[in-house]
Symmetry: C3
Subunit: 108 residues, 3 copies
Protein backbone atom coordinates (compact mmCIF):
# COMPACT_ATOMS: atom_id res chain seq x y z
CA UNK A 1 0.00 0.00 0.00
CA UNK A 2 2.88 2.32 -0.80
CA UNK A 3 0.48 4.52 -2.75
CA UNK A 4 -1.21 5.40 0.54
CA UNK A 5 2.15 6.32 2.05
CA UNK A 6 1.92 3.49 4.55
CA UNK A 7 5.07 2.03 6.06
CA UNK A 8 5.36 -1.26 7.90
CA UNK A 9 6.22 -1.08 11.55
CA UNK A 10 5.87 -3.24 14.63
CA UNK A 11 3.26 -2.38 17.23
CA UNK A 12 4.15 -3.40 20.76
CA UNK A 13 1.47 -3.51 23.45
CA UNK A 14 2.64 -3.99 27.03
CA UNK A 15 0.23 -4.58 29.91
CA UNK A 16 1.60 -4.16 33.43
CA UNK A 17 0.47 -3.18 36.89
CA UNK A 18 0.34 0.59 37.33
CA UNK A 19 3.19 0.44 39.83
CA UNK A 20 5.45 -0.90 37.07
CA UNK A 21 4.55 1.63 34.41
CA UNK A 22 7.53 3.90 34.97
CA UNK A 23 9.97 0.99 34.76
CA UNK A 24 8.52 -0.04 31.42
CA UNK A 25 8.73 3.50 30.07
CA UNK A 26 12.37 3.63 31.19
CA UNK A 27 13.07 0.40 29.29
CA UNK A 28 11.46 1.84 26.16
CA UNK A 29 13.42 5.06 26.39
CA UNK A 30 16.68 3.18 27.02
CA UNK A 31 15.98 1.24 23.83
CA UNK A 32 15.64 4.51 21.95
CA UNK A 33 11.87 4.41 21.53
CA UNK A 34 10.75 7.93 20.85
CA UNK A 35 7.04 7.77 21.53
CA UNK A 36 4.30 5.82 23.19
CA UNK A 37 0.69 6.06 24.26
CA UNK A 38 -0.70 4.82 27.57
CA UNK A 39 -4.19 3.53 28.28
CA UNK A 40 -4.79 3.79 32.01
CA UNK A 41 -6.92 1.92 34.52
CA UNK A 42 -7.49 -1.33 32.75
CA UNK A 43 -8.53 -4.36 34.68
CA UNK A 44 -7.59 -7.91 33.90
CA UNK A 45 -7.54 -11.37 35.14
CA UNK A 46 -5.68 -14.58 35.08
CA UNK A 47 -3.25 -16.02 32.69
CA UNK A 48 -2.42 -14.77 29.24
CA UNK A 49 -0.79 -16.72 26.53
CA UNK A 50 1.93 -18.96 27.79
CA UNK A 51 1.68 -18.31 31.49
CA UNK A 52 -0.46 -21.34 32.15
CA UNK A 53 1.03 -22.21 35.48
CA UNK A 54 1.11 -18.71 36.85
CA UNK A 55 -1.62 -16.27 37.82
CA UNK A 56 -0.36 -12.96 36.52
CA UNK A 57 -3.02 -10.48 37.51
CA UNK A 58 -5.76 -10.44 40.10
CA UNK A 59 -9.10 -8.79 39.52
CA UNK A 60 -8.12 -6.04 41.95
CA UNK A 61 -5.01 -5.04 40.02
CA UNK A 62 -5.08 -1.72 38.21
CA UNK A 63 -3.25 -2.13 34.94
CA UNK A 64 -1.85 0.15 32.27
CA UNK A 65 -1.29 -0.63 28.62
CA UNK A 66 1.63 1.01 26.83
CA UNK A 67 1.36 1.12 23.05
CA UNK A 68 4.42 1.88 20.97
CA UNK A 69 5.22 1.58 17.29
CA UNK A 70 8.76 1.02 16.10
CA UNK A 71 10.82 -0.35 13.22
CA UNK A 72 11.49 -4.09 13.38
CA UNK A 73 15.19 -3.60 14.17
CA UNK A 74 14.27 -1.77 17.36
CA UNK A 75 11.90 -4.50 18.49
CA UNK A 76 14.67 -6.87 19.47
CA UNK A 77 16.28 -4.29 21.76
CA UNK A 78 12.96 -3.53 23.41
CA UNK A 79 12.10 -7.20 23.95
CA UNK A 80 15.52 -7.87 25.45
CA UNK A 81 15.01 -5.06 27.94
CA UNK A 82 11.53 -6.29 28.78
CA UNK A 83 12.76 -9.85 29.21
CA UNK A 84 15.00 -8.82 32.06
CA UNK A 85 12.22 -6.85 33.69
CA UNK A 86 9.66 -9.64 33.35
CA UNK A 87 11.94 -12.05 35.14
CA UNK A 88 10.82 -10.27 38.29
CA UNK A 89 7.47 -8.71 37.40
CA UNK A 90 4.22 -9.79 35.79
CA UNK A 91 3.11 -8.50 32.45
CA UNK A 92 2.03 -9.29 28.94
CA UNK A 93 3.59 -8.21 25.66
CA UNK A 94 1.82 -8.44 22.31
CA UNK A 95 3.59 -7.73 19.02
CA UNK A 96 1.70 -7.15 15.78
CA UNK A 97 2.20 -5.73 12.32
CA UNK A 98 0.93 -2.25 11.73
CA UNK A 99 1.21 0.31 9.00
CA UNK A 100 1.89 3.92 9.86
CA UNK A 101 0.96 6.74 7.57
CA UNK A 102 3.33 9.60 6.96
CA UNK A 103 0.46 12.00 7.31
CA UNK A 104 1.99 14.88 9.05
CA UNK A 105 4.25 17.46 7.59
CA UNK A 106 7.57 17.68 9.31
CA UNK A 107 7.81 20.76 11.48
CA UNK A 108 10.78 22.06 13.37
Amino acid sequence: MKELNLYEMKKVEIIVRGENLESVLDILESAGVSGYTIIHNLSGKGRHGFHEGHLMFNEEDVLDMVISVMPEEQLEVVLEGLRVFFNKHSGVVFVSDVKVSRLEKFKK
Copy 2:
Protein backbone atom coordinates in the same frame (compact mmCIF):
# COMPACT_ATOMS: atom_id res chain seq x y z
CA MET B 1 10.68 -14.35 14.54
CA LYS B 2 11.37 -17.49 16.53
CA GLU B 3 14.71 -16.04 17.59
CA LEU B 4 12.79 -13.42 19.59
CA ASN B 5 10.75 -16.15 21.27
CA LEU B 6 7.57 -14.90 19.66
CA TYR B 7 4.66 -17.27 19.15
CA GLU B 8 1.66 -16.68 16.90
CA MET B 9 -1.65 -16.30 18.62
CA LYS B 10 -5.04 -14.79 17.85
CA LYS B 11 -6.05 -11.54 19.50
CA VAL B 12 -9.77 -11.14 20.06
CA GLU B 13 -11.22 -7.73 20.87
CA ILE B 14 -14.85 -7.62 21.96
CA ILE B 15 -16.74 -4.35 22.43
CA VAL B 16 -20.03 -4.51 24.33
CA ARG B 17 -22.21 -2.37 26.54
CA GLY B 18 -21.02 -2.39 30.14
CA GLU B 19 -24.17 -4.23 31.22
CA ASN B 20 -23.10 -7.16 29.04
CA LEU B 21 -19.51 -7.38 30.21
CA GLU B 22 -20.05 -10.17 32.72
CA SER B 23 -21.86 -12.31 30.15
CA VAL B 24 -18.94 -11.97 27.75
CA LEU B 25 -16.43 -12.89 30.45
CA ASP B 26 -18.55 -15.96 31.28
CA ILE B 27 -18.45 -17.00 27.63
CA LEU B 28 -14.67 -16.63 27.55
CA GLU B 29 -14.22 -18.63 30.72
CA SER B 30 -16.59 -21.35 29.50
CA ALA B 31 -14.43 -21.60 26.39
CA GLY B 32 -11.38 -22.15 28.60
CA VAL B 33 -9.83 -18.72 28.05
CA SER B 34 -7.44 -18.17 30.90
CA GLY B 35 -6.85 -14.44 30.77
CA TYR B 36 -8.14 -11.16 29.47
CA THR B 37 -7.77 -7.44 29.87
CA ILE B 38 -10.63 -4.94 29.98
CA ILE B 39 -10.61 -1.32 28.84
CA HIS B 40 -13.49 0.46 30.55
CA ASN B 41 -15.67 3.44 29.69
CA LEU B 42 -15.30 3.62 25.97
CA SER B 43 -17.83 5.45 23.91
CA GLY B 44 -18.90 4.58 20.44
CA LYS B 45 -21.38 5.17 17.78
CA GLY B 46 -23.21 3.65 14.96
CA ARG B 47 -22.60 0.67 12.84
CA HIS B 48 -19.42 -1.32 12.63
CA GLY B 49 -18.42 -3.59 9.85
CA PHE B 50 -21.28 -5.63 8.57
CA HIS B 51 -24.11 -4.24 10.63
CA GLU B 52 -25.19 -1.78 7.99
CA GLY B 53 -28.87 -2.06 8.70
CA HIS B 54 -28.65 -1.89 12.43
CA LEU B 55 -27.59 0.83 14.83
CA MET B 56 -25.58 -1.01 17.42
CA PHE B 57 -24.53 1.64 19.87
CA ASN B 58 -25.81 5.07 20.77
CA GLU B 59 -23.54 7.91 21.78
CA GLU B 60 -24.82 7.59 25.35
CA ASP B 61 -23.80 3.97 25.71
CA VAL B 62 -20.90 3.19 28.00
CA LEU B 63 -18.89 0.41 26.44
CA ASP B 64 -16.16 -1.95 27.55
CA MET B 65 -13.54 -3.63 25.39
CA VAL B 66 -12.33 -7.08 26.37
CA ILE B 67 -8.96 -8.10 24.92
CA SER B 68 -7.90 -11.72 24.99
CA VAL B 69 -5.15 -13.67 23.28
CA MET B 70 -5.53 -17.35 22.54
CA PRO B 71 -4.30 -20.14 20.27
CA GLU B 72 -6.18 -20.46 16.98
CA GLU B 73 -7.88 -23.71 18.01
CA GLN B 74 -9.57 -21.91 20.91
CA LEU B 75 -10.85 -19.12 18.71
CA GLU B 76 -13.57 -21.23 17.15
CA VAL B 77 -15.00 -22.17 20.54
CA VAL B 78 -15.00 -18.55 21.65
CA LEU B 79 -16.66 -17.31 18.46
CA GLU B 80 -19.35 -19.96 18.70
CA GLY B 81 -20.17 -18.87 22.24
CA LEU B 82 -20.23 -15.23 21.21
CA ARG B 83 -22.45 -15.99 18.21
CA VAL B 84 -25.22 -17.22 20.48
CA PHE B 85 -24.87 -14.20 22.72
CA PHE B 86 -24.87 -11.72 19.86
CA ASN B 87 -28.12 -13.10 18.56
CA LYS B 88 -29.70 -11.10 21.37
CA HIS B 89 -27.21 -8.37 22.20
CA SER B 90 -25.19 -5.76 20.33
CA GLY B 91 -21.46 -5.95 20.07
CA VAL B 92 -18.42 -6.03 17.87
CA VAL B 93 -15.71 -8.67 17.63
CA PHE B 94 -12.34 -8.08 15.94
CA VAL B 95 -9.84 -10.88 15.38
CA SER B 96 -6.22 -10.23 14.47
CA ASP B 97 -2.86 -11.95 14.39
CA VAL B 98 -0.55 -11.18 17.24
CA LYS B 99 2.73 -12.53 18.50
CA VAL B 100 3.24 -13.15 22.18
CA SER B 101 6.63 -13.25 23.77
CA ARG B 102 7.49 -15.90 26.31
CA LEU B 103 9.13 -13.22 28.43
CA GLU B 104 8.36 -14.30 31.87
CA LYS B 105 9.96 -17.10 33.76
CA PHE B 106 7.53 -19.71 34.91
CA LYS B 107 6.86 -19.45 38.61
CA LYS B 108 4.91 -21.82 40.80
Copy 3:
Protein backbone atom coordinates in the same frame (compact mmCIF):
# COMPACT_ATOMS: atom_id res chain seq x y z
CA MET C 1 -11.04 -18.52 7.98
CA LYS C 2 -14.25 -18.29 6.00
CA GLU C 3 -15.62 -21.22 8.01
CA LEU C 4 -15.66 -18.96 11.05
CA ASN C 5 -17.51 -16.27 9.11
CA LEU C 6 -14.59 -13.89 9.37
CA TYR C 7 -14.14 -11.14 6.81
CA GLU C 8 -11.00 -9.13 6.22
CA MET C 9 -11.20 -5.46 7.02
CA LYS C 10 -8.83 -2.63 7.85
CA LYS C 11 -8.59 -1.35 11.40
CA VAL C 12 -7.68 2.30 11.73
CA GLU C 13 -6.50 3.68 15.07
CA ILE C 14 -6.18 7.44 15.35
CA ILE C 15 -4.63 9.15 18.38
CA VAL C 16 -5.23 12.87 18.77
CA ARG C 17 -5.54 15.48 21.47
CA GLY C 18 -9.01 15.57 22.98
CA GLU C 19 -9.62 19.02 21.52
CA ASN C 20 -9.31 17.52 18.04
CA LEU C 21 -11.58 14.54 18.56
CA GLU C 22 -14.66 16.08 16.99
CA SER C 23 -12.75 17.08 13.87
CA VAL C 24 -11.53 13.53 13.42
CA LEU C 25 -15.03 12.12 13.86
CA ASP C 26 -16.27 14.60 11.25
CA ILE C 27 -13.61 13.37 8.82
CA LEU C 28 -14.64 9.76 9.40
CA GLU C 29 -18.30 10.54 8.89
CA SER C 30 -17.58 12.56 5.75
CA ALA C 31 -15.76 9.51 4.41
CA GLY C 32 -18.86 7.42 5.03
CA VAL C 33 -17.53 5.52 8.04
CA SER C 34 -20.53 4.21 9.88
CA GLY C 35 -19.10 3.33 13.27
CA TYR C 36 -16.24 3.88 15.63
CA THR C 37 -15.20 3.39 19.22
CA ILE C 38 -13.34 5.93 21.33
CA ILE C 39 -10.91 5.26 24.18
CA HIS C 40 -10.68 8.41 26.28
CA ASN C 41 -8.05 9.97 28.50
CA LEU C 42 -4.93 8.36 27.20
CA SER C 43 -1.60 9.92 27.85
CA GLY C 44 1.36 9.86 25.58
CA LYS C 45 4.69 11.25 24.88
CA GLY C 46 7.08 12.18 22.21
CA ARG C 47 7.47 11.09 18.70
CA HIS C 48 5.77 8.19 17.02
CA GLY C 49 6.87 6.47 13.88
CA PHE C 50 8.13 8.90 11.32
CA HIS C 51 7.88 12.11 13.24
CA GLU C 52 11.47 12.04 14.35
CA GLY C 53 12.06 15.73 14.17
CA HIS C 54 8.88 16.83 15.82
CA LEU C 55 7.54 16.43 19.33
CA MET C 56 3.91 15.55 18.80
CA PHE C 57 2.54 15.19 22.28
CA ASN C 58 3.59 16.42 25.68
CA GLU C 59 3.10 14.42 28.82
CA GLU C 60 0.37 16.84 29.89
CA ASP C 61 -1.74 16.27 26.79
CA VAL C 62 -4.97 14.35 27.22
CA LEU C 63 -5.43 12.13 24.20
CA ASP C 64 -8.23 10.10 22.67
CA MET C 65 -7.94 7.06 20.46
CA VAL C 66 -10.56 6.49 17.79
CA ILE C 67 -10.85 2.92 16.53
CA SER C 68 -12.73 2.21 13.33
CA VAL C 69 -12.97 -0.81 11.06
CA MET C 70 -13.69 -0.43 7.37
CA PRO C 71 -13.28 -2.13 4.01
CA GLU C 72 -9.98 -1.43 2.25
CA GLU C 73 -11.62 0.74 -0.43
CA GLN C 74 -12.81 3.16 2.27
CA LEU C 75 -9.37 3.43 3.83
CA GLU C 76 -8.00 5.62 1.07
CA VAL C 77 -10.79 8.17 1.48
CA VAL C 78 -10.28 8.27 5.24
CA LEU C 79 -6.51 8.68 4.96
CA GLU C 80 -6.90 11.47 2.44
CA GLY C 81 -9.19 13.35 4.82
CA LEU C 82 -6.82 12.80 7.71
CA ARG C 83 -3.85 13.94 5.66
CA VAL C 84 -5.36 17.40 5.24
CA PHE C 85 -6.17 17.60 8.93
CA PHE C 86 -2.73 16.45 10.04
CA ASN C 87 -1.09 19.17 8.02
CA LYS C 88 -2.14 21.45 10.85
CA HIS C 89 -2.59 19.20 13.87
CA SER C 90 -0.61 16.50 15.64
CA GLY C 91 -1.71 12.91 15.66
CA VAL C 92 -0.86 9.33 14.90
CA VAL C 93 -2.62 6.90 12.58
CA PHE C 94 -2.06 3.14 12.67
CA VAL C 95 -3.54 0.80 10.06
CA SER C 96 -3.70 -2.96 10.55
CA ASP C 97 -5.45 -6.03 9.20
CA VAL C 98 -8.34 -7.33 11.21
CA LYS C 99 -11.04 -9.90 10.72
CA VAL C 100 -14.59 -9.09 11.67
CA SER C 101 -17.11 -11.77 12.47
CA ARG C 102 -20.63 -11.56 11.14
CA LEU C 103 -21.89 -12.62 14.54
CA GLU C 104 -25.00 -10.64 14.91
CA LYS C 105 -28.27 -11.28 13.22
CA PHE C 106 -29.46 -8.39 11.14
CA LYS C 107 -32.26 -6.54 12.86
CA LYS C 108 -34.36 -3.71 11.54
